[in-house]
Symmetry: C2
Subunit: 450 residues, 2 copies
């Protein structure tokens, strides 16, 4: 009897003992005390893959004395990272040489994406891609597939196999691209619709209507994208916006009657609460205001913005108090140069510094976790350790390289100042090696080789 | 008799079989064919720590059939990296939060450097510092020690123990710094002189007269630095120049009679062929011209320039054909964020991209090797595999992470295009893990754990 009880408890309830760090509010707007939750010796209790309770080990150990506890001494558990903009078919062209956006698309992106009509190929890449994300501590992604429905099927199948909360969509692109990569307004509408019906809300998966960007979609295609959003009000809209100076100029030429780049999407009904716009490097004040009013989100992709020479995202303006815009971090693989949201946050700090702005370590980590969840309207499901949320989390080793071990000599921070310093060193120096383990819905999905 | 011959040959002559990549000329000024030397299956023969011969394995294998050959299949051997600007006492403040240059010095640098009066402490840090450099493939450095002669002694002792070619100097700093860090013009002159007499050209070690920068030296101290250069014409001058906007403005205030920042150093006799100026982010055309005429060098420190928000170095202007200036790469630890010259070169590419300039992978690797050697006037001793040079080299694994292994699926490049792509991926994605082994004067000094 007792044995049976323990068995069933084991399968449904379990706990982790560690130090814990997450966010309960946005550190861009409120104080550290109001936004950061740090428990030096904590216990996270999980039931059926969801957070049941987080507290100090001292307070919870007796209440849960009968359940199995996994102990990670000298580590810190944080919520799984959320990547709000990434292209899975571009994994193999990461670090391709010498171009800015428009030339880069023609020279590297388009030829590569052509391969993703082959579902078996797409599936193979999707598997490596998702494994690499887990190795980097990223548990949720908003993903561009390719123009082919097969590429979306492949991605969702692999994400589903790993029980990941993921959002993806078929690229819609009916002009200014090679023949083999073009759909039509009508086929893109129909194919997207079928994919939505098949995959949206299937398990943890969600769908995003995904026109590549204004340049590669006709008015008619954008209109039909808007129609999809009306027919399926809870799917996402995912596209690019104002990344590169030449791109912005071309959009102005193509849509002379629109007052801004954002307005091209707006008049097609694509600017709403579940819209995520990648980049937004060259937005006007008016565009920021409109994004704020619409409660849309921006995916800030610093490694990509530097690598492609796109420019410096105005984070301070996006996070202003007057016109706040939701912001998440995006790696933008393959324009970005790292799968790691730590390395992405490190470049975000540098982009801020070049504009004489400060990005605090807590703000950086917020963007990679709860900030990303909010950008994806998923803050009721992921992003921190509030009770009821899905237990996607990572075990972080802040002494994972010889340099970090030297830099962070003492074991656990004992003051807020030490914690700030430790987290900052993680953001600036950490990479995939800092991720000791990744858990999905409370189950081990990746563990570093020792 | 034969045995004895083999024995003695073993100790004095040995060889490495691998693919080899180095530079025979500057790829900023001449074509790839004229600048890059790549041997897909090569043999490097070393005698008494120096390069005896480099050629194809096919051509050399019979000539050297009796000597021991170390074979590194699927690797590439390149010259050891050269870091032209780094502060060894700042290792522990790497990734300190939130400041630009002048505040950063006061808040982090000065308090930390105070610890280096204790020679035992300095020696401990110097040992970790040099080991970390070797782990990152850096075999030669131009180093700021602290103001205390003890810190220079400690550094040189540890560098000597590792048989490294290294250049270092005592910081000269007689104003605008805390009491405990200030010398006087006179003591800085005398202490530097003693250190030069003791260490300059001792084995592979060399000395650099090292005023921190114009702000922390009086006219008299700068004048005495110039006097040292006159008394010891083959020592180096190593200082900072035009890193940060506020710094430049302050220099203008402090030296109202100088027409430029560079001119402050120039009139003290500090601008010559063996002068290395770190940063040079905000140089005027006139200053570039003067550096070119004087054959001085700039240490370009991109991770630091981004991290401290200093600005974007004008590499294209420095490498112009009209007024060419010698340029090396510097990590500038602790203002920089990585010991790896690969990661430094990656940020250099991004700095160029933000200015719509291209930095080719060969140019990047040149800066880290022969370019650095030229910046340090050491091209007769290190920087490539020309016969007679000291055999400092690294064994590079271009598939050292799961991502790089996926990205670079085939084994050895078979075309120039493939080689360019492979080297670029190394520069953008590589880190300490790409360094499989580091050799100093032909002897194994570091090897990655498998």
């Amino acid at each position: 009897m007792f044995f049976e009880l323990t068995q069933s408890t084991k399968t449904s309830v379990k706990a982790f003992r560690c130090s814990f760090l997450d966010f309960i509010e946005d550190p861009f707007y409120v104080s550290t005390a109001e936004s950061v939750r740090y428990i030096a010796d904590g216990m996270l209790v999980i039931e059926k893959g969801k957070v049941k309770e987080l507290g100090t080990y001292e307070n919870l150990k007796n209440k849960y004395s009968k359940i199995p506890v996994t102990f990670y001494p000298d580590m810190t558990i944080v919520p799984g990272f959320i990547d709000t903009h990434i292209h899975f078919p571009q994994m193999e062209i990461i670090a391709s040489y010498g171009e800015q956006l428009l030339e880069w698309l023609n020279k590297y992106t388009f030829p590569t994406e052509g391969k993703f009509k082959d579902k078996a190929y797409a599936q193979k890449v999707a598997a490596v891609f998702l494994d690499e994300l887990l190795r980097n501590g990223t548990t949720t992604t908003l993903v561009f597939a390719a123009v082919y429905p097969e590429s979306v099927e492949a991605f969702f199948e692999e994400a589903s196999r790993r029980n990941l909360r993921a959002i993806a969509g078929k690229v819609m692109m009916d002009r200014h691209a090679p023949d083999f990569l073009r759909d039509t307004a009508q086929t893109s509408y129909l194919q997207s619709k079928q994919l939505i019906q098949k995959w949206h809300k299937k398990g943890r998966l969600l769908y995003a209507v995904t026109p590549r960007f204004a340049i590669t979609s006709t008015d008619e295609q954008l209109r039909l994208a808007g129609k999809l959003l009306q027919e399926f009000p809870d799917v996402y809209l995912h596209t690019h916006l104002s990344e590169n100076v030449d791109e912005v100029a071309w959009v102005r030429e193509l849509f002379p009657d629109c007052e801004s780049y954002l307005n091209v999407y707006d008049r097609a009904g694509l600017v709403g609460e579940k819209s995520v716009f990648a980049h937004g490097v060259h937005l006007s004040d008016e565009e920021f205001r409109r994004l704020s009013a619409a409660k849309s989100a921006i995916a800030f992709c610093p490694t990509s913005n530097l690598f492609l020479g796109s420019g410096l995202f105005k984070l301070e303006q996006a996070k202003s108090k007057e016109y706040p815009v939701k912001v998440g971090l995006g790696t933008d693989i393959g324009g970005g140069t790292s799968f790691s949201l730590l390395q992405t946050a490190s470049e975000a700090y540098k982009v801020a510094q070049l504009q004489r702005q400060k990005l605090s370590p807590f703000q950086a980590l917020f963007l990679a976790t709860l900030g990303g969840a909010r950008a994806l309207s998923l803050e009721d499901k992921i992003g921190n350790f509030d009770a009821g949320k899905e237990a996607d989390f990572i075990v972080v080793n802040m002494r994972s390289t010889p340099l970090m071990a030297f830099r962070n000599r003492e074991a656990t921070p004992t003051s807020l100042e030490e914690l700030v310093d430790r987290v900052f060193s993680l953001v600036m120096l950490g990479d995939d090696r800092a991720i000791s383990a990744t858990y999905i819905m409370g189950e081990l999905a990746y563990e570093v080789k020792r």
